[in-house]
């Protein structure tokens, strides 16, 4: 069994099994907890919990103007690499075929050259994000090992994907095997680190919205 067969076979099977196990464990462990734990009466005239939850999700997509001055770069850069990752992951045809193989659904993709350009922008944006984290005293203070591991697990698939497409550094089959292995590492780490925010951000923002709405606070 060569490296590519190992990556496409046992490594990917293991990673996806761990991903399914860990993600469902964490999601169900949270979602099956009792709902409606706020025992105090809601403030008079406060919106319904559902609309507060929706508002919490939507409003928090963009920062308050008073936070923009200090956090402008973080927000803009965050959007760049998140959108970049979404485009590269979900609109590159070989990735769509991977998803189709798993779930049986597919959609049209973008030309490879467009994906390559978006991939380069995403990689640069991710490097800027880690540079900002390491040079900003506040960010450095609140950063934990999890933050750095999550960054590495996100950056490696982007880097190896770009190297594979450009045929840089090794033979294509080696690079594509390393790319798949890096994705496998991403899947394994995903449920247990901060990458889980891809699922949890919806619920945490919704809960923030509900709590704020309950107290009649402005979001």
């Amino acid at each position: 069994m060569d490296l590519l067969d190992f990556a496409r076979g046992p490594a990917l099977y293991f990673a996806l099994a761990v991903f399914a196990l860990g993600t469902l464990w964490r999601l169900l462990g949270i979602l099956l907890l009792p709902w409606g734990l706020i025992r105090s009466p809601a403030r008079e005239g406060s919106p319904s919990p559902f609309s507060s939850a929706l508002k919490g999700i939507v409003v928090k997509l963009w920062p308050h103007k008073e936070f923009m001055a200090g956090g402008f770069f973080t927000f803009i850069n965050g959007y760049i690499f998140h959108l970049g990752l979404a485009i590269v992951v979900f609109l590159f045809v070989p990735h769509i075929l991977f998803i189709k193989n798993l779930f049986g659904i597919s959609w049209p993709g973008l030309p490879s050259n467009v994906i390559y350009a978006v991939g380069v922008i995403t990689a640069v944006s991710l490097i800027a994000a880690i540079a900002n984290r390491m040079t900003s005293p506040v960010l450095r203070l609140i950063s934990r090992v999890d933050d750095y591991i999550s960054w590495v697990m996100t950056f490696l698939p982007v880097l190896t994907g770009l190297l594979a497409v450009s045929h840089l550094g090794a033979r294509y089959e080696t690079l594509i095997a390393l790319h798949i292995l890096s994705v496998a590492a991403f899947f394994v780490w995903f449920p247990f680190g901060k990458l889980m925010h891809a699922f949890l951000f919806v619920f945490s923002r919704a809960m923030t919205g509900v709590r704020f709405g309950h107290r009649g606070a402005q979001l």
Binding site: L12, L16, L28, G29, P34, L97, L110, S112, Y172, I176
Partner: protein
């Protein structure tokens, strides 16, 4: 035909002009990515060289490799290669049989000790003392070891000889192995393919005759001149891959428009061979040009890498059960964790109520 005659003498006798030799030398230099100045040196070396003694051994194979060479649509090339070499033993092509054939092999080995080239097509069975393929009372393993002992080099022609091929595919009932797994003390050149391209076989033999040395090989023992690039990188359909235009089945509009065959399982991106440049049948076509994706036949274990029609970026088949088991375990753990949390919560509430009551 005297063995002392040079290739040049023989070609002259057959009416092959010096110009034809120069054209062949230029083709060889071009095919093997040698500098243009090498073509003159090749022509001179070829003309002055003695015909290379070649012993061709056929083991567990389908004769497709020999067919590829002899049914080539390049009669001039085919003639050229048979003029370059003295094919002293080839079970499929030789007229004699039985003891006379074996004597021809032993005679060629004795007379050209240390100088003859062994060409092997087919894998070598090792299981049960190699009984699954034998001739003249000897197993393939015995014949190979005996013949390779005094050889200059061994050329493994076809994926079976180079990497075990189809006989070596799971479950490999005969314990088939490649020539390179047996012969460790001689240079082994692999020219894989199912079958290999005739020009790659001929070019490699010609290089060996001309320069008396093994050409540059990659890590899988293949001449870099013919196996240096992937099919994908040299494919005329590559622009469609870059544009994101793919055939989704073999009879859709994309297939009719000649778009990239990646989605229908083409293994061109991880297959190193010269199909897209040298092509087949004298440069007429190659599988992708004929509408079928590359099956990766010049790569080791190509038969065991999943379906030919499964896209390369998908996981190998057989992972559904593992993911389902992981998901089931995740649901159980999540539900269990939530249940424990609820119990703790109830216990805490009861404790708090008691304290408040007291």
């Amino acid at each position: 035909m005297s063995d002392r005659q040079t290739v040049g003498d023989i070609l002259a006798q057959r009416g092959v002009s010096r110009r034809a030799i120069l054209k062949y030398a230029a083709w060889l230099a071009s095919a093997m990515a040698l500098p243009p100045s090498a073509s003159k040196a090749i022509a001179q070396s070829l003309a002055a060289a003695r015909r290379q003694s070649v012993v061709w051994l056929s083991f567990q194979e389908c004769t497709g490799c020999t067919e590829s060479l002899t049914r080539s649509f390049s009669p001039s090339l085919e003639e050229m290669i048979f003029n370059l070499i003295s094919l002293d033993y080839h079970e499929t092509l030789m007229a004699v049989s039985g003891h006379a054939a074996e004597e021809a092999r032993l005679k060629a080995m004795e007379e050209n000790k240390g100088k003859y080239v062994v060409v092997v097509d087919g894998s070598v069975p090792l299981k049960d003392d190699g009984v699954y393929s034998a001739n003249a009372g000897k197993t393939n393993l015995q014949t190979l070891q005996e013949t390779a002992k005094d050889a200059l080099a061994i050329i493994s022609v076809g994926t079976c000889a180079a990497y075990g091929g189809i006989p070596g595919a799971r479950p490999n009932p005969t314990g088939a192995v490649s020539v390179g797994e047996i012969i460790k003390d001689k240079p082994v050149i692999n020219i894989p393919g199912c079958p290999p391209i005739a020009e790659a076989i001929a070019g490699t033999v010609a290089y060996l005759v001309t320069f008396g040395k093994v050409p540059d090989l990659d890590h899988l023992g293949r001449p870099k001149a013919f196996f240096g690039d992937t099919i994908h990188d040299r494919c005329y359909r590559r622009p469609f891959y870059d544009k994101g235009l793919f055939a989704k089945s073999f009879d859709d509009e994309g297939a009719r428009n000649g778009w990239c065959l990646y989605e229908v399982g083409c293994k061109g991106p991880v297959t190193y061979n010269a199909c897209a440049t040298l092509k087949w049948n004298g440069g007429v076509s190659f599988p992708i040009q004929s509408g079928h994706g590359c099956i990766g036949c010049s790569e080791p274990h190509f038969w065991d890498k999943g379906s030919f029609y499964q896209p390369l970026s998908t996981a190998m088949p057989g992972m559904g059960a593992g993911i389902a088991a992981g998901a089931a375990a995740g649901v159980a753990l999540g539900a269990g964790a939530a249940w424990l949390a609820r119990r703790r919560q109830v216990a805490y509430s009861q404790q708090t109520s008691k304290k408040e009551g007291a």
